[in-house]
């Protein structure tokens, strides 16, 4: 078995992508990309389409390269900057924001790999603006982590994978897709290029929101893996999950909802200023002068600022945590901070995106304005994992002193029992 890649995939020339001078330049690029994406995503006809164009804008902007080190073509961006980029893109389009979120989530695993040819190849692609997807969850099992996709060695000793994943966010538009399968010797993880024979990316994400997150199915039909693609070869126990193993994903999920909340807020204000009729009982000239509307916009702004503030705090804490080498005595505080950000971003985004129609009036419900996309996106996105369980952990910490967990707690418990 070869330990180095045998395919020409690894010999392709990387494309050009911008390299930023600093984090401020990356954030400016995110704002530019968001403005372009927002112009497309405001069109109701785009809603059910694959966001090829938005994806290309992301690719050209370079904002998905920032986590790479300067030597690799990135800027070694802080958590605060990556979270801010996800938030900014999500203000334009929550689905496209989730493409950034899942990419950065999966990139962490690549960055922690040893320096081998696969890592170099994938990182070259990412430096060129390409993205990672993911294919982990399945449907039909007892729960989210009940995996049926399986792999077995063929006569040549290669892993052959069969099965189906769903909620495979970003994969339809990604260059590389990390996934996993069970084997007789436990679970393996693998990374597969989108053009690999036996890999089928389905355009079947038919949900009422977050359409642009392309979170549909990925199928493996006798997908043959080379050993260089398999990151956890069969034998031995799976690695013990970290207690903060999902914090990175979680904080970027919060960034998506914070962004959607901001997008809804700005759309509401724009509509009130440009399209709303003044209500018949309000003795004012323009809708924006009505005290009841002004006060309600104040409620939205406070909810939004609280969400953004918690997100910023959690990101700064996360950077401090990383700088100290992820010490376990900071686990509690980091998990609580990120859970609080998720709760308040969920709340703000759902409040503003739904309640705004009570101010904007009946005409704003016309499809041509496409204003329900904010609610649809945040409502679908926030079902990712239940907020009530984030709150449960926060409450159990304050009430009973129980160390807070993420939703991987069940997996960690199973690991401890095994």
């Amino acid at each position: 078995m070869s330990t180095e890649p045998a395919t020409d995939l690894l010999d392709r020339e990387p494309l050009f992508a911008p390299r930023f001078a600093d984090e401020a330049a990356a954030i400016a690029a995110a704002h530019e990309a968001a403005a372009l994406i927002a112009a497309i995503s405001a069109d109701p006809a785009e809603r059910s389409r694959i966001p090829h164009e938005q994806s290309a804008i992301l690719e050209r902007s370079g904002v998905t390269t920032v986590a790479l080190s300067p030597e690799e073509g990135g800027i070694g961006a802080s958590v605060a900057t990556i979270v801010e980029i996800t938030r900014i893109i999500s203000a334009a389009d929550g689905g496209v924001g989730q493409l950034v979120q899942i990419h950065n989530m999966m990139l962490r695993g690549i960055l922690r790999r040893p320096d081998d040819a696969l890592r170099r190849r994938v990182i070259a692609d990412i430096a060129a603006g390409k993205r990672l997807g993911h294919a982990a969850a399945e449907v039909g099992g007892k729960h989210k982590f009940d995996i049926r996709t399986s792999a077995a060695r063929n006569a040549q000793g290669q892993w052959v994978v069969n099965g189906a994943k769903f909620y495979a966010t970003g994969s339809y538009l990604a260059e590389w897709i990390p996934s996993g399968a069970k084997t007789e010797d436990g679970q393996i993880g693998f990374l597969v290029h989108r053009d690999t024979p036996g890999l089928i990316l389905d355009d079947d994400w038919h949900s009422f929101g977050q359409r642009h997150s392309v979170s549909g199915g990925v199928r493996f039909e006798n997908l043959v893996l080379e050993d260089w693609q398999v990151s956890l070869p069969g034998a031995g126990a799976p690695q013990k999950p970290e207690r903060t193993g999902l914090t990175w994903a979680q904080i970027n999920h919060a960034a998506i909802d914070a962004g959607i909340a901001r997008g809804a807020f700005e759309a509401a204000i724009h509509y009130l200023g440009n399209n709303s009729n003044v209500w018949i009982d309000a003795e004012v000239e323009r809708a924006v002068q009505e005290p009841l509307i002004i006060k309600r916009i104040g409620d939205y702004a406070v909810a939004l600022r609280v969400a953004e503030s918690l997100l910023r705090d959690a990101a700064e804490l996360y950077d401090a945590y990383n700088a100290k080498g992820r010490p376990s005595d900071l686990d509690d505080e980091l998990i609580l901070a990120v859970a609080a950000a998720r709760v308040k971003t969920d709340e703000a985004a759902l409040l503003i995106s739904s309640d705004m129609f009570s101010l904007l009036g009946a005409s704003s419900s016309y499809r041509k304005f496409n204003l329900d996309r904010f609610w649809a996106d945040v409502r679908v996105h926030t079902t990712h994992d239940p907020i009530r369980w984030r709150l449960h952990h926060v409450g159990d910490y304050y009430l009973n002193g129980t160390p807070p967990h993420e939703y991987s707690a069940a997996a960690i418990r199973r690991h401890a029992e095994a």
């Binding site: 009729n277 018949i280 739904s354 409502r379």
Partner: protein, 420 residues
Amino acid sequence: MITKPTRLASEAEAIAAAHAAAAKIALLARDASLNDRVPHEAAEILSASGVTSIYVPREFGGLGASIETVVETVRIISTADGGVGQILQIHNVMIRGVFSRPDDAFRARLVADIFAGKRFGNALAEGKGKGKGGGTRLTLDEQGIWRLNGRKTFATGCYLAEWISISATSDHGPVGVLLHRDAPGLTLEDDWHAFGQQHSVSGSVHFDNVEVDPRFAPKTQTAGGAPDFMPRTGLTWPQILHAAIDTGIARGALEAATAYIRDNMRAWPESGLARAADEQHTIKRIGEYAVAVRAAESALRYAARTFDRFKADPGNRALEDELILATATARAQSDEASIFIGSDLFALTGANSTLDRWNLQRFWADARVHTTHDPIRWRIYHIGNYYLNGVPPDEYGRAARLRQQEIAIATNAATKENAL
């Protein structure tokens, strides 16, 4: 073709008929492929059930159902489909005028049509905001024929209605006109493209030189008397039925959520449970939904009973205040419950429940679109102004209507002076 409607003999029969119709309509409403289609079949079920004629008074040979029963039928239909519920709502609002019409063959035909299951729609609002008036105008042509021209929007129910009730302006002030759907020059558009309440068919209606029967001519000095003044509770009837729609949607959302959690959901891994429905957090949240629905239903029932009492005692000013306050309360609570449950349920039912095939977003979409009819903040404002400052509560647009009436009176006076 409308099946010959059932003639309902009692209020209990009316409620039972509404439940039976709702069960059939619910089967259509859950089919996502029907969301954007005109609800021909649901409308036919509605009419065939007989519930569209229960408000016809006894002296016209009808059931003369109480407000409480009519409100309840709208609520029940709306648990199945808020849009179809609004077709019933607007019908009940618009047929009210039939029974105060002069006793003639025309009125007899309208009443017969109602018994035959035909429905009424409305064409009141115009493009540039409610109450602002505008395009739709009734004028006399050179031959002395009254002609209607203009365009209406938010014309709920019209696309599927037999009779269209229209407001228009004229040289003699505001007028009300009733037109048959087949009137030459009248065009009903299938252009209601909102993200919810698609089945309320609230699109536009055009009038291109439509000939109008002289019985709808403006009231001038020759026709005698001043224009009709809308009473203080002139909008209570549509308002309470609007509350019934949202109360129904809230109940529909609650039932859809509990059914999904029981039958289609995997337990969340952190709960360590086998059944999603056994999770305490979920159980408690469903309790909050149920309390919100029950509060809305209770407020609606109280308002309906107050309305029945007020009808028997229309001069009672304190009861009139109480009716407006009770109806505003029902609207506020039903708005809150329907939007809360319609949106929050996904926090319990999870990612799979967002797939299009479940069509569960329709409750939020319907409630969200329907509750934009008139701003709840102004209903609550009137309640607050009553409790804080003792100001008698109003419904919407009263100040504007008073201004309009002053103009109409002044115009009439000027016309009379000119005639003298």
